[in-house]
Symmetry: C2
Subunit: 421 residues, 2 copies
């Protein structure tokens, strides 16, 4: 078996782990690397490995057979590196979800035009081979939905809030200390990272162009410890869910939203930094997979799996079908989501509040399944939780718009979908 | 893309479902079929499809490119059909776990000698792409354990016993009426089917020859409703678990045994006819997958996934490594299992029973974590449940041998491992 000569761009936790794993795989030889700081001690033996300052040089070097892109970022230099490599018919392996969420279509076209593999198992759900499962394992199925927990940082924070009773800010600070959250955590906690991954899975599952801009994205900043407690009381866990679903008319709805899941569901039982994703296939029914969605070695495991596939001669189209046949998707909104909803209102604690809200719900055709209000002291703010029966998102948004105008309402209402699985 | 001409042997629920799914895949054309009874109405349009009485003819027919074997059985004609096909360099797709558990090594060698794919995604866990996940998705990992629920019939029976409080025989009879259990259920409920699947997964995960005879196999006939209730009280569910694990000395232990799992574990929450399997990888850590492990369409989904892989030019070695390099395994026994145990003794309800049993446990170095005895009436049989701390299986078997000799013991003791995950 001939040796595959590899260039790696990016030597962070994932790049370093790939480097370490490949030490046990003599059929793969790392020829050249590129990273931000050559002086940094990463604990790697870089002897005999060429250092290049400009990562794009990896694509141009004649002795590099395969480019592994682990720099991240949704533009250059990652983008130009991958383009240059594909144009030179060098297979590319990347873990870069942001780049694929914005440029996945263009890059897939380029890979197809040059008949060269573009592989990205590591881009979604770290060590879980979710790309392979959807694209190959369930290839015979029409997929009706793919949804789940795709961001370990958010899942860690929500799990810890439930476990410790601490509020969002405190848990986030701890997560940052433990290395489970970035110093700038916004890409994770505002749902962007989940959205990047979801747009890739949606592309694979439904044959549509990955398009981050067509997603509805809501993060977890507004989830209070009270929401977690009251949801628990009603039999649910709150998780940040990325969800792509084909509705009755065939349109693909893509949402990222904190959501309530019944405690009995496998996704609700996916705790801490783990990811858990459910796929509904026409023939297999619901299939669930869970594992480490992040971390150097788990993600590197997916990178090396792609390398091994490459070595076995695999050359499957990036989205399992010609990229130019991918359909476009329309911008989703919570209005398009039909189902049950959790609504938290912060109201002034005084008699008659329910009498003000109820007619609005009735006139919007919304019926309430559960209702919790924990009274405190007169005229102080108090949370009022409502769980609706199945209804149309359109009705909910209409009602909320009216409810917000009531002068008993003291804060922005929080609305979350309730998933019944 | 050229059309692949297919011969299918076996038109039961899986074969019929493959037939139906392929109607939507014009790149695959079913040329010929073989099944037991040509007269039977299967609701399939067999017009233009050649019927052959001897399935081996499918391998010999020059117009058949690929043979799909869905007859089952651990010997001929399935075995000779597959052999003839591989010798003629025709790719084979099979769902036959029993055959692979006994002849997997020989068939893999034959496939490799003829450089032709032997594919069997459908043989384990139906629609869950567990073969692909282990062999390709986690290819970079050393695997330390693979275990879980691999038989939907047993899981349905145990789940229903817990849900309804009915005993084993009643639930089995209902399962037979509903089609979830065969009229002769022994292959399922005595653990053989789980063992067949486990020996295949073990071969893939550990690079050892699939060898059903080296497994310790215990089924679920002896599980009483009382076991299920008391395990529940202690915080556990009882599941039939197939488990392959590398121990500290590197030996591969393969067990099929009803086992206790903490209710918080994903396997314990896999209910009804579903399968759920956990894989422990050196880099990814524990990864869990669950879904429909049986049923015509779920299993057919895996068969068609193999066909699609074949169409993409895939030709991976059946066990991901040369079959002749697979290691052999040694016969496992409960003696080799180190961990906690659940022990149910049926004793005569009279004072002093504990005083008779305790010294034996002490002398075997076994300490008890939980103990439940529900007294009934004097001198009548009563169940005494003990959950041990971690200990050696060797110690447990030694103690049980002595305990059985006590004259307060009224029935064979039941011993089950307790999995801590």
């Amino acid at each position: 078996m001939s040796v595959m000569r590899i260039g790696i761009a990016g030597l962070g936790t994932v790049g370093s782990a790939v480097f370490e794993i490949l030490a046990d795989h003599p059929q793969f030889k790392i020829i050249a690397v590129s990273a931000r700081d050559q002086e940094k001690d990463r604990g790697l033996n870089l002897e005999g490995v060429r250092w290049v300052n400009d990562p794009v040089q990896l694509a141009l070097s004649p002795d590099v057979d395969v480019v592994i892109e682990l720099m991240g970022g949704d533009g250059n230099p990652a983008l130009s590196l991958i383009r240059e490599a594909l144009q030179r018919r060098k297979p590319v392996i990347t873990a870069n979800k942001a780049l694929l969420a914005y440029h996945g279509f263009d890059l897939a076209c380029l890979a197809e035009d040059n008949q060269v593999p573009l592989m990205y198992e590591a881009a979604v759900a770290g060590g879980i081979p979710i790309i392979k499962i959807i694209r190959e394992g369930l290839a015979a199925n029409g997929i009706s939905a793919v949804y789940g927990i795709m961001n370990g940082t958010c899942n860690y924070i929500l799990t810890e809030m439930g476990r410790t009773g601490e509020n969002f800010e405190t848990v986030l600070t701890n997560a940052q200390k433990l290395g489970y959250a970035e110093s700038d955590p916004s890409l994770d906690i505002d749902g962007g990272d989940t959205g990047h991954k979801l747009s890739i899975l949606s592309g694979l599952a439904f044959g549509c162009v990955p398009d981050f801009k067509s997603l509805f994205v809501e993060g977890i900043r507004s989830i209070s410890i009270e929401d977690i407690r009251l949801a628990d009381e009603l039999g649910y866990h709150i998780k940040l869910i990325g969800q792509a679903r084909k509705n009755a008319s065939g349109a693909i709805l893509q949402f990222v939203s904190p959501s309530l899941l019944p405690k009995s569901s496998p996704i609700a039982n996916t705790h801490g930094v783990l990811n858990g994703i459910l796929i509904e296939g026409s023939y297999v029914g619901p299939s669930f997979v869970a594992g480490r969605g992040a971390g150097g070695f788990a993600t590197a495991s997916a990178v090396v799996a792609d390398l091994i596939d490459l070595q076995h001669g695999k050359n499957i189209l990036p989205f399992g079908m010609p990229a130019r046949l991918l359909s476009s998707t329309q911008k989703a909104s919570l209005e398009d989501w039909d189902g049950a909803f959790y609504i938290r209102l912060v109201v002034k604690d005084r008699p008659g509040v329910i009498a003000e809200i109820s007619p609005i719900l009735r006139d919007s055709n919304i019926s309430i399944e559960s209702f919790i209000q924990r009274g405190r002291s007169m005229d102080q703010p108090v949370s009022m939780i409502m769980m609706t029966h199945e209804t149309k998102g359109h009705n909910i948004l209409k009602a909320i718009t009216q409810i917000k105008e009531l002068d008993c309402i003291m804060d922005d209402p929080l609305v979350m979908p309730v998933l019944k699985i």
